[in-house]
Symmetry: C2
Subunit: 226 residues, 2 copies
Amino acid sequence: MESYEESRSDRKHKAILEAATAVFLSKGYDGTTMDEIAASAGVSKQTVYKHFADKEQLFGEIVRATTDQIDGLMRLVAETLAVAADLDKGLSQLARKFLTALMEPRLLRLRRLVIANADRFPDVGRTWYEQGFGRVLATLATCFRRLAEHQLLDLYDPLLAANHFVGMLLWIPVNQAMFTGSVRRRSKAELEDYADAAVRAFLRAYSVKSEVAKSSVRSGRPSQLR
Amino acid sequence: MESYEESRSDRKHKAILEAATAVFLSKGYDGTTMDEIAASAGVSKQTVYKHFADKEQLFGEIVRATTDQIDGLMRLVAETLAVAADLDKGLSQLARKFLTALMEPRLLRLRRLVIANADRFPDVGRTWYEQGFGRVLATLATCFRRLAEHQLLDLYDPLLAANHFVGMLLWIPVNQAMFTGSVRRRSKAELEDYADAAVRAFLRAYSVKSEVAKSSVRSGRPSQLR
């Protein structure tokens, strides 16, 4: 019976998290009440409080769960890169998957919500930054260090190279989404072109075979994403 | 008499904008009232409404004025670059000034406020993006195109190169500030190191003399800014 109870509790926990995410995203932090979350999750308000001490803790939990998902994706992709026969293709696959995942409308809206409340709940913003950004950069840096050890990349500071990689990949599309309100879903081709352009520039900057990488930059299609 | 009246009106307009900026930044959009702005500017509420139709228009005006300042800075810096004898030094000067300007705590807080309200006031977010981002990127792209014409840069798409330049320069420091709540003022040396590292990577990716640029990357100090 205990395991049945446990799984029922787990299901409720998950249902509350999902309902709360939807309410937060549509009404903002201040516009959200625990009553509404309970109603939307189909549980009593008492049950919500049994799982989460208060609204802030619930918000923090959503952010942590999201950063865990991103980190999981990165590990998967980094493993792909580690076994890729072709650095160019491996990096392009990594860049495309990562950009596509980060451009998910739900994730972008949550990101905006975290920024909006970073002054009031510094812990939540810090979690997003350290557990999201920080871990992704560390995973990438480990990956780049290994590639440098195999004489495939030429760099003295893997973490700095990781910063540059994600900066070229994400600065424009993510900010466009942050500032231009309605988060429209980009076409797959648009994102892939943009990702490939970042990879080409990265390889020109950091590849050992810089002349090879260079020629591939010039033959690339211009990106449509500005 | 008319010009005296005009300048008095200008002064009031400016005082209201300044007071409103301070109140918005400390209380957020919803926490700000026209009453408080009037009191803080030392004018009547009627006067505030004579200058600005409503709170939203006032907020939009603050954003527009800020993007104009950034654009002004960029033009100045781009002109410096155009006459720089040394591409490396010119770019480094541009990157340092731009990063320092964007990391001003007041600007970062305003940026966060715009993102927080981009869903509700898409026009304000769009203004920030198009008049801020867009113009800066266009100015940079023009600059890079000219350098390519003079065989100093090797690129097929100046706007894409501009995207990559600002991405490497800004992604980490700006997001760190967005997510980690209290906006601490970074040391000048920290920002300069980070700016120089972005310039070195950019030159490796886009300089005609890629071998020269490459050697300068490897001799650079590692950046402290993660």
